[in-house]
């Protein structure tokens, strides 16, 4: 398979094309605009549909419409745009439609700046819009994964009829690394059990998020929660590096995990038994594997993130605070440094 130097945002569109995505709807925003640019260039050439919408809300509602037909649809943006799309994402969840949303996080809140951050964690992982819903959230940490996890997002989204979000940051979107192109492209089939595509087969199907009867709405909500529990049981995904004998787990996703990995190696050279626990799924959070670390004698956890402890909260919940959980973070467009993580590892090691 061909390997090429590619930008993270470009890799998203390569993944989408290989995943058989039929339609892309977007609106420009830094640092995610290259996804729109690549879609504009490549989608029409591959016979797929691409529209530059008049706003982020328009784009997510175009996704809503296209997804209704059972075809693979996606959009991409950054924090301020994801906030705008949250209304539509809630409706997609209510209608149990598959769709892929890519969030190239920048610093917030508000306008913030265009530097990298991971401050959209709560918005995306907890749902973001109104109602009792979840999104499947995948967290790439390399250009390769920007492609691979975009493909995976389409697969999981269709499998569970949920919105799947690829949650990356400004660094991952903008950086260039070798990308090994996917082995195979996918030709997805329309699921006629729920889609409405104008054929006789799908005529009885109704796509809706409205249940005026309270008990019906409650039953539907319970059904959603059962589905989310099934997703939690089936789809947890994590990469563990040097975790086998680790006393201290660094929990980090995305670009923060790449930085933490360097600190693990440096700490090991000093005799500190550190490991990297890198969630590849943020919902479902890989809590089984993290609990296994605690069960097997893991002593301390350090969360490394470019947000105000948003992931750290989930880590504490996952292990029910059965061991001390610390936070090393930066905000505002700044990256955590390997040195800061190493310092935290040394401090924590003294407490063991």
């Amino acid at each position: 398979m061909a390997t090429q130097l590619v930008k993270g945002n470009t890799a998203v569109i390569i993944g989408a094309l290989y995943a058989g995505c039929d339609s892309f709807f977007g609106y420009p925003i830094t640092p995610a605009s290259e996804i729109l640019h690549e879609a504009a260039q490549k989608f029409p050439q591959a016979g797929r549909c691409m529209v530059q919408a008049e706003s982020e809300e328009a784009a997510i509602n175009m996704v809503f419409g296209a997804a209704t037909t059972g075809r693979r649809a996606m959009t991409a943006s950054s924090g301020p745009g994801i906030s705008l799309k949250s209304e539509g994402i809630s409706y997609l969840a209510g209608a149990q439609l598959p769709a892929v949303v890519v969030d190239i996080m920048r610093a917030g809140p508000g306008l913030g700046n265009i530097g990298p951050e991971q401050g959209d964690y709560n918005q995306v992982v907890k749902g973001g819009g109104h109602g009792n819903y979840r999104n499947i959230v995948l967290a790439p940490a390399s250009v390769q994964e920007m492609c691979d996890l975009t493909m995976r997002a389409f697969e999981l989204s269709q499998k569970w009829r949920m919105v799947a979000v690829v949650l990356a940051d400004g660094v991952l979107g903008q950086m260039i690394e070798p990308l090994r192109f996917p082995e195979q492209s996918v030709a997805p089939e329309t699921d006629t059990s729920w889609a409405v595509d104008g054929t006789a087969a799908t005529r009885p199907n109704v796509v809706t998020s409205i249940f005026l009867d309270f008990d019906q709405q409650e039953a539907f909500n319970n059904q959603l929660q059962e589905k989310y529990a099934a997703v939690e049981a089936a789809e947890q995904d994590v990469e563990c590096i040097r975790m086998e004998d680790a006393d201290i787990a660094l929990v980090a996703y995305g670009i923060s995990a790449r930085i933490a990995q360097g600190a693990v190696e440096a700490a090991r050279a000093e005799g500190i038994r550190a490991g990297l626990f890198r969630p590849k799924t943020l919902f479902p959070f890989p809590k089984d594997a993290l609990n296994a670390f605690v069960d097997q004698g893991g002593k301390q956890v350090i969360c490394v993130e470019m947000s105000n402890g948003q992931m750290c909260d989930d880590v504490k919940l996952a292990i029910e605070c059965r061991c001390p959980v610390h936070l090393v973070n930066r905000l505002g467009g700044n990256l955590v440094t390997e040195g800061a993580v190493l310092t935290a590892l040394r401090e924590t090691a003294k407490q063991i």
């Binding site: 605009s33 008049e54 706003s55 306008l111």
Partner: protein
Amino acid sequence: MSVKPADYASSVPIAWCPGCGNFAILNSAKKALTELELPPERVVICTGIGQAPKLPHYMRVNTFNGLHGREVAAAIGIKLAANDLTVIVHAGEGGAYGEGGNHFLHAIRRNVDMTLVVHDNRYYALTKGQASPTTPLGTVTRIESDGVVIPPLNPLALAISQSCSFVGQGTTGRPDLLVPLLKAAIQHRGFSLVHILQSCPTWDRVHTPQFYRDHSDELQEDYDPYDREAALRQVLTPSERHPLGILYLDDRPVYDEQALEQIEHPLRQRTVNPDAALALLATFA
């Protein structure tokens, strides 16, 4: 003169590209406010996101920098709370007509006393050259590699058709006409739209200041801006030429004057009287 140009001077370094049409708009905006003898503390410039919205960063003036496309809605809130201040919105055509298109329509209807200045450079310049709501058909951009296929919005025809209280057009190719136009718009009571055809030296090599000088005409002295059909003819007749000046006027009732009539205003200076609310308790019975 009590207000001097220096009152509006700012030392913030300007981040626009050299040759950007925004410089002419910035200078005209400062000059208009100075000539109207409006001191900076009596003026609010409200913006969203884009190149145009950076304008008040480069002036010494009250600044509200809010959400992309929501600048008009924010400005309505500002005006209703502080109706003694002069409220001006500076937006790009992306914010004003794309993201904020819905707000634009209803601001025309509501007719709050404020001025919307739209810097129309026909591109999303901040996010690097995508097509905007006014990019001409066939223009090749980094998104539309085969050329734009949906026709541009005609904001002037839209505004006039909806009886927008003040509709004017200027261009950065004729900065001499911008100052009187902005002054008239600010002085007008009601919602004023000033559409400025702006050059973008980075993304658009066609619509240069010279292009706009060569392809525009000042409205004749006998032109009647109260004649809506004449105004619509000006902006609907297919033409290579752009009319400059006050295209349309409609002395409609001003929303904030009506809405605030029964209330002590400006709201920001009002003392809240808790007894007035308590007196209402009986009416809930």
